[in-house]
């Protein structure tokens, strides 16, 4: 076959694949609405408003200033003081038993520090086993401290107070903003890895793959033809997820859209290669579905830092998380969306994905041989 | 003589489409009855009505003495069903399949064990009784699934294209099992696309466009159409316009 004929055959394949996708209306609607539904559901699930926050106060040497600050908290209907102690060690068991949500640690000599104009030491410790409420609580507590600061006598208002924010069990600040990149990776994994695995193994079951293999089509044409339409779908999903996140939750977008789409393409290709690999190794739609569930969806959710911070995983899982593409992709998307990071900051993660793609493509094309068995 | 199957003016419509158009058939007890027809002639619909999976639009059908609409529970207890597409669970052993079907039809454990062992040794399958069905040759599977369909000693057994793809010796062994069942008084109602197979039946009917176009013994039908095989009878009836071409 000459090159134009090869391209024509490839185009025909893509058209056929698009028809399969467009005619399976139910699946199509689900796939298109999925990012929207996920962003909205996860977003609201995460954004539970917090009331009745249980506060523990550590005030080693109470003075006028610390008592005034404590009064601000007790006066705020949202906080309930469950313990007051002089030593931080007393607080620890309260967290462990789940009896306190947040601790305010006031270093000795707050009044003097304010008078001298030296930095005052304030620390907020949140139980971040649920990162989202942790963030919200931090925000409320910060607001109370801010109110206290404003109420300080005029001369002292210029003093800088640095409340140290430390979250227990989860040192990074998680929020709906940080969730959206995770959702994007999840949706991409679903439409790429899982959908290609299913549609390729369907051809196997129907016996049409046998004809395709016997035809002059080369394996790369079959794979590319299979994969291209899902790449389009993946693009649509990334954009939907971001628009939904921005409209519903005002999640910012600070970086370059082009870079994000390029990174998504790279990640989608990794997923598609994985899907082809799974289909090549399984014999029915059912096992392909289970395989892609266990092989791609679960790691992308659990080992990617989307829900559980990688640092909080046991070390064997931390090690495994390195080979989960979603882990690297989530870092990239977070960087682009939330920090406006550019390729200078993210080239390492992008390189990791590129290497993964190369390896997977080689393995996928090899296992998807020109022959049966 | 009592009738095993009694169908009167049976009609089944799907919307405007009449799949089965006022057919009437009687099948005697102990008869091997062939139910033939082209793809889409209405055979499958008619069988579904007879085994109680579809309600007729009008007309009546009695199987093993019970009405398929008002007494479908009674009918189901007295019929066996085997199809080429589905009969045994491939991922169970012969013995497990027997236990399952025996249980479904409410046989006692004692009966299941006794009949199961008798069946397996009669079929010469004792040494594979605990191997997975998927590992057995096709011919063995088909003989086994026929025996399993007969486990609860049904009055009427429905066989839907039972012998596809097996070797000629196994196919004959299968038909001999059918004859033996008929000799014991079981009525056998069988569909097939293979006309040489139709000649094994005591009587047969040929369905064309929802109606029964011909019914009788193979010899009588051949004589009636002046041809030497049921294949030719079938071709004349099913596509009168193309008969004789090629």
């Amino acid at each position: 076959m000459r090159t134009p004929e090869r391209l024509h055959a490839l185009a025909a394949f893509v058209v056929k694949e698009l028809r399969h996708i467009l005619r399976d209306r139910q699946t199509l609607v689900i796939l298109l609405l999925l990012p929207l539904a996920q962003v909205v559901l996860f977003g609201f699930a995460i954004r539970t408003d917090v009331k009745d926050i249980r506060l523990a106060i550590v005030d080693a040497a109470p003075d006028d200033a610390s008592l005034a600050l404590r009064a601000h908290f007790t006066g705020n209907g949202r906080f309930r003081v469950v313990a007051t102690a002089a030593m931080i060690e007393v607080i620890e068991p309260l967290f462990r038993r789940g009896q306190a949500d947040v601790a305010l640690v006031i270093a000795p000599g707050l009044a003097r520090a304010l008078a001298d104009g030296t930095p005052a030491q304030l620390q907020l410790i949140t139980d971040a086993s649920n990162p989202n409420t942790g963030t919200t609580i931090q925000a409320y507590a910060g607001a109370v401290i801010g109110a206290w600061q404003i109420a300080l006598p005029g001369a002292r208002q210029g003093v800088v107070i640095e409340p140290q924010v430390r979250m227990r069990f989860n040192q990074s600040l998680e929020s709906v903003n940080l969730f959206v990149p995770g959702l994007i990776s999840l949706v991409l994994t679903l439409v790429t890895a899982q959908m290609t695995a299913i549609s390729l193994s369907r051809e196997k079951e129907r016996g049409t793959l046998e004809i395709l293999l016997v035809s002059p089509l080369r394996p790369w044409q079959i794979i590319l033809g299979k994969v291209a339409p899902y790449l389009l779908l993946a693009f649509a999903n990334v954009v939907t997820a971001m628009v939904a996140a921005w409209l519903v939750f005002q999640v910012p977008f600070r970086g370059s859209l082009a870079l994000l789409l390029a990174a998504s393409t790279l990640y989608a290709l990794v997923g598609l290669a994985l899907g082809v690999l799974i289909a090549a190794r399984t014999n029915s739609q059912r096992t392909a579905m289970m395989g892609s569930m266990i092989g791609t969806m679960l790691p992308s959710t659990l080992l990617s830092g989307m829900i559980f911070p990688i640092a909080s995983l046991p070390w064997p899982l931390q090690l495994i998380s390195n080979i989960v593409p979603a882990r690297w992709f989530i870092v990239i998307v977070r960087g682009i969306m939330l920090k406006g990071a550019g390729i200078v900051h993210l080239w390492q993660e992008l390189l990791v994905l590129a290497v993964m793609l190369t390896v997977l493509l080689v393995v996928a094309i090899k296992s998807f041989r020109a022959r049966l068995a | 003589m009592t009738l095993a199957i009694e169908v009167k003016d049976l009609t089944r419509r799907f919307g405007d489409f009449t799949a089965v158009d006022a057919i009437s058939v009687d099948v005697q007890v102990g008869e091997v009855f062939g139910f033939l027809g082209a793809n889409g002639a209405g055979k499958t619909t008619a069988i579904k009505v007879l085994i109680g999976l579809l309600a007729p639009t009008s007309g009546s059908a009695r199987v093993a003495g019970f009405d398929v609409v008002t007494q479908s529970e009674e009918v189901r207890k007295r019929i066996g069903y085997m199809s080429q597409r589905f009969s045994l669970y491939d991922d169970l052993t012969p013995r497990e399949n027997i236990t399952l079907y025996g249980g479904i039809y409410g046989l006692s454990d004692l009966d299941i064990r006794a009949r199961g062992t008798a069946m397996l040794s009669e079929l010469g399958l004792m040494q594979v009784a605990d191997k997975l069905v998927s590992t057995l040759p096709l011919g063995w599977k088909q003989k086994l699934s026929f025996s399993v369909a007969m486990l609860h000693r049904p009055a009427v057994v429905f066989l839907d294209e039972p012998t596809g793809g097996v070797d000629p010796v196994t196919r004959r062994q299968f038909w001999e099992m059918i004859y033996a069942a008929a000799a014991r008084g079981t009525t056998v109602f069988v569909t097939t696309h293979y006309m040489d197979e139709a000649e094994y039946c005591d009587r047969l009917s040929i369905m064309v466009d929802g109606r029964i176009a011909a019914i009788g013994t193979p010899a009588a039908l051949k004589a009636e159409f002046g041809v030497s095989s049921i294949d030719e009878v079938f071709v004349r009836l099913a596509r009168p316009t193309t008969a004789g071409a090629g």
Binding site: A12, R19, G207, I211, R371, A373 | N39, V169
Partner: protein, 317 residues
């Protein structure tokens, strides 16, 4: 005599195993140019494996196979362009229309419906009125014709059809064989497999295949002659009692039901047919089979097949 070089299919000593199962065991035959060649035998006999080797989908463990003068292992891309293949099921996309299926398979082979139209016209014209219908909604016979059109649209020099008539009604099957004859007479070489002995008569030559071995290769009319003994048709009522009585006859070599008669052969080769008929009649009569007839007949392919397979139905390995 056709030389091997011009034979579109030459198979020599081909062996293929899957684990401990021997799918093909030293298979040797060739298909002549312009021939309608049949592979006849039950499922699991190795027919599909053979097709997959010829279509370059599988590599033989031993032996060689050439298709259109090219080696199936080395020259797979050359063979794939020039062969038309219809696998065991009608492998179509049920969610695509008749025309979309055909157009797709044409593109896959680097051609178009229009360029291949004259070759598929006799077949495709029959289903063209339904070209906008989804393939999943076609009847068995129409699916079969569409699958054949798809396998033909790129003008292959060799057509390989694996059980194209399974699950299709008798009339559609007859029409399908007529189409194959038309294609063959236009010069195409066709290899077709079937589990049904009665279809062997529609081929020029057949290979009887059983358990990975070729039992015999010949023109259909000559295969019956491979049956080793005189054969008789016995008709008796009741049938089941007749079978049992005949089996009990001490000199019975084989007893097989054939439609409404039984085919009987006698173990005593020296006995003259009239003598055999007289003895069997007497034996059956004393066993209560009153209504009976018996006559000598010419053995058919199925009789020969059963004799050649040694009355040994698919025993487990």
């Amino acid at each position: 005599m056709v030389t091997q070089a011009s034979s579109p299919v030459v198979i020599e000593g081909v062996r293929k195993t899957f684990g401990s199962t021997v799918a093909l065991d030293d298979v040797t035959f060739d298909v002549r140019a312009g021939e309608l060649f049949g592979l006849v035998g039950p499922d699991g006999g190795g027919k599909t494996t053979l097709f997959r080797i010829l279509t370059t989908l599988l590599v033989p463990d031993a032996g060689t196979a050439t298709v259109l003068g090219r080696d199936v292992v080395r020259d797979l891309w050359e063979i794939r362009k020039r062969v038309g293949y219809m696998p065991g099921r009608f492998s179509l996309y049920p969610d695509l229309s008749v025309e979309e299926n055909l157009r797709f398979f044409a593109s896959v082979f680097g051609t178009t419906i229009e360029k291949g139209y004259d070759i598929i016209a006799p077949i495709y014209a029959q289903i063209e009125p339904f070209k906008h219908r989804r393939a999943g909604q076609l009847s068995g016979g129409m699916k079969q014709k569409l699958a054949l059109s798809c396998a033909l649209v790129h003008r292959p020099e060799l057509l390989l059809l694996d059980e194209p008539t399974t699950g299709v009604d008798a009339v559609s099957r007859r029409e399908f064989w007529d189409l194959l004859h038309d294609l063959q007479s236009s010069g195409l070489t066709i290899v077709v497999s079937t589990p049904y002995m009665d279809e062997a008569d529609r081929c020029h030559r057949v290979a009887l295949v059983q358990k990975g071995r070729v039992l015999a290769i010949d023109v259909p009319g000559a295969i019956g002659a491979r049956f080793p003994r005189p054969l008789y048709a016995v008709h008796g009522v009741p049938r089941h009692a007749t079978i049992e009585a005949l089996r009990a006859f001490p000199h019975a070599a084989s007893v097989h039901p054939f439609g409404d008669t039984l085919h009987y052969s006698d173990a005593r080769e020296a006995h003259h047919p009239p003598q055999v008929i007289a003895e069997v009649t007497a034996w059956l009569t004393t066993r209560g089979i009153a209504e009976m007839t018996m006559s000598r007949i010419a053995p058919g392919i199925e009789d020969a097949f059963m004799a050649l397979m040694g009355d040994e139905p698919g025993a487990p390995a």
